[in-house]
Amino acid sequence: MRARAGWHPWAMLGPTLALLVVFFILPLGVAAYESFFAWDLLTAPRYVGLENYRALAARGELFAIALRTVGYSVLVVTAAMSAGLALAMLLDRPGRAFAFVRASVFSAYVVSWVAVALLWMWMLDADDGLVSRLLRAIGAPSVALLGDPAWALPTLAVIAAWKLTGYAMVVFLAGLRGIPPALGEAAALDGARPWARFRYVTWPLLAPTAAFVATTLLVTSFQAFDIVRIMTQGGPAKATELFVYAIYEQVFLDLRVGRASALTVVFFGLLLALALLQLRVWSDRGGSRDAA
């Protein structure tokens, strides 16, 4: 289709492009520029070259934050996808009871992160929390999951996965309903057992849905902030300091705009690398399908 005038496509794209430039490209450019300065918003910015990057890298902070964030995201995506898929398979049945359970599981997703964080803080309280009481009831010692540097991050990941499972389940349910039942029935007639039917019929047809769920969960988990801010403030001993919280802490608590900007640029680079990797995987899959 050819545009009647050369400027028409630009006019159509204009509003989106303007928003993209104003709210994404321009701020990113400003952040990249400010990452070369030491600035506290009050006194004049001082050019320091790559010092902000060097300081972050020299202390091992940058690597630690990146590793923590990736680890947290992997845990969240894996747990939420697995639980979401399992629940979708179990609950993809007619009847009010199943509908009620589906709605209950999904309800956690619509609750705000703040409410989720407060609820779990109460449940995980080392002295009076529900988890500690249950542990004591069975004779086990109570544990401070959020106060232990080794357990705090996995605990946050489990809580995030709990909240996001409902979302993964609903998307998987939609994917499952798009698969013609006749395919499963034909496989069953051919003697395929339930696992084989899932492995060779359902899962391949769910792959695009799974890719979508994985991508959106990855983006959500990389942006984790509320849960960290409310439950741990990055502690104990920085064990839960993820990228977005680290940026917030640098700029608003430590008053280092330059260092926060350097973290932002690295965060963008990491996300960009992951997005390119994902595009590559998708294009490879598309290519192999085309070849088949």
């Binding site: 202390r59 540097p149 741990t232």
Partner: protein, 436 residues
């Protein structure tokens, strides 16, 4: 039927341009540029006051502001809550950068040198009556910082406090334990007061937030100073390490101290809750929380000075009132009028007795003494008398950054993981020098 008006093309273009210009002007002028004149409300000068206090303290403050507003017809103070101290500071700094800072706020003590160096604070010496104010020396800017009398006054003491030891009187009686006055006694008492129930629950002998303020107190008690005679940041040298080792000993060897979960004020809140629920027999907290603990505990609350190692030492904390230089002149004058009123004995007494923040002026203290307040409120007397052992802070612009960036995260990690204290403090010293 509505009349239809057809604008000529030229008028339509003009109208669009006018609308755009109008929007731009509206977006830029009131929000981004500081007005030269103070805002008025029914002829009274409006003073925006950003504050960072919650619960009981917030209630008392708002009542005092309302009382001031009702007491005269020239000024109206408008308090705006801005979260906790650090959130309020972040907002204040952003507002300063955007040119929309309020005339009046209060900031944590450690950040005063930083804001003063940035040139955003109004020197208060020139204001009428400034030199007549008789502050409690340890709580004024002059006494709270080393060489404090040699520079302009940028902050007036407002909600000022020190760390203090607080014990569950009933637990002390049952265990026949005296309130400790040395580190060794503290370790022994904490061990005696720690109790493991058959249900698996633990009543800890001692709890204190593993954070800068309390570490500074212990470093001082072990004989150290944050900076040496030449002004170099040494973080107490060996005394700083001793303080950390003492915490590690209580947590890992004696298992008599629980480091509370959370950071900053969440850890403080957690400590108070442990104490009130009877899960910690002794805590270190702020004098500012004495009233809250007294009013909410189901047992007698006994306050004591922090124990000494080689000497007594406590830092001061809390906030100072500041005027922001960027505010219109008449707004600053109006804010000063409020500050003078707040520093009068009546208001100082009301603020101090209702909240347990330390009374900041000498006339207020004299009146409290004369009225027998300290005989009736032994905990308040302990808090006030502990001011004798205050160690002033160095006037260092990067002090708060040393706290947040170099010391706090390392202390927490070392106490939780048992990392070598010397290595930890050496790293903290290196970090602190880089930060400074």
């Amino acid at each position: 039927m509505r009349p239809v008006v057809h604008l000529p093309p030229c008028s339509a273009r003009l109208l669009r341009r006018d609308v755009l210009l109008g929007c731009a002007a509206a977006a830029l002028s009131p929000g981004c540029a500081r007005q030269e004149r103070a805002a008025r409300e029914a002829g009274r000068i409006v003073v925006p006051f950003w504050y960072a206090l919650g619960d009981l303290v917030r209630k008392v403050l708002l009542e005092l502001v309302a009382q001031f507003n009702a007491s005269q017809a020239r000024v109206v103070v408008k308090p705006v809550h801005q979260g906790d101290y650090f959130e309020a500071l972040a907002k204040l700094r952003t507002a300063l950068a955007a040119g929309v800072a309020p005339a009046l706020s209060h900031v944590v003590l450690e950040v005063l040198p930083y804001l003063a160096r940035a040139g955003v604070l109004e020197p208060l010496d020139r204001y009428e009556g400034a030199s007549d104010m008789q502050f409690v020396p340890a709580l004024s800017q002059a006494g709270a910082f080393t060489d404090g009398s040699g520079r302009s006054v940028f902050g007036l003491p407002f909600n000022r406090s020190t760390p203090i030891a607080v014990a569950n009187g009933r637990a002390l009686d049952v265990a026949r334990v005296a309130i400790p006055s040395t580190w060794d006694e503290l370790a022994e008492a904490a061990g005696q007061l720690t109790r493991h129930e058959a249900s698996g629950e633990v009543r800890w002998g001692f709890e204190v937030p593993v954070s800068w303020w309390y570490w500074v107190a212990m470093m001082g008690q072990a004989g150290g100073r944050l900076v040496d005679a030449s002004g170099r940041l040494v973080l107490g040298g060996q005394a700083g390490e001793k303080a950390l080792e003492f915490w590690q000993r209580l947590v890992h060897e004696q298992r008599a101290m629980r480091p509370p979960p959370g950071r900053d004020y969440q850890a403080w809140q957690s400590t108070s809750e442990s104490f009130l629920r009877g899960r910690a027999a002794m805590i270190w907290t702020s004098t500012a929380l004495l009233r809250y603990l007294e009013q909410n505990a189901s047992f007698p609350v006994v306050a004591a000075p922090l124990p000494r190692q080689v000497r007594w030492s406590v830092p001061t904390g809390g906030t100072m009132f500041v005027l922001l230089r960027s505010a219109p002149e008449e707004e600053k004058l109006a804010a000063w009028e409020f500050l003078r009123w707040m520093c009068e004995a009546d208001q100082t007494i009301a603020w101090s007795t209702r909240t347990a923040y330390l009374p900041v002026t000498l006339p207020a203290v004299d009146r409290l003494r004369a009225a027998g307040w300290y005989n009736r409120h032994a905990n308040d007397r302990v808090a006030y008398e502990q001011l004798e052992h205050v160690d002033p802070w160095p006037w260092a612009a990067e002090l708060f950054r040393v706290e947040r960036d170099a010391v706090d995260p390392l202390l927490e990690a070392a106490v939780l993981t048992g990392r070598n204290a010397h290595e930890t403090m050496q790293e903290a010293r290196d970090e602190a020098r880089r930060a400074a």
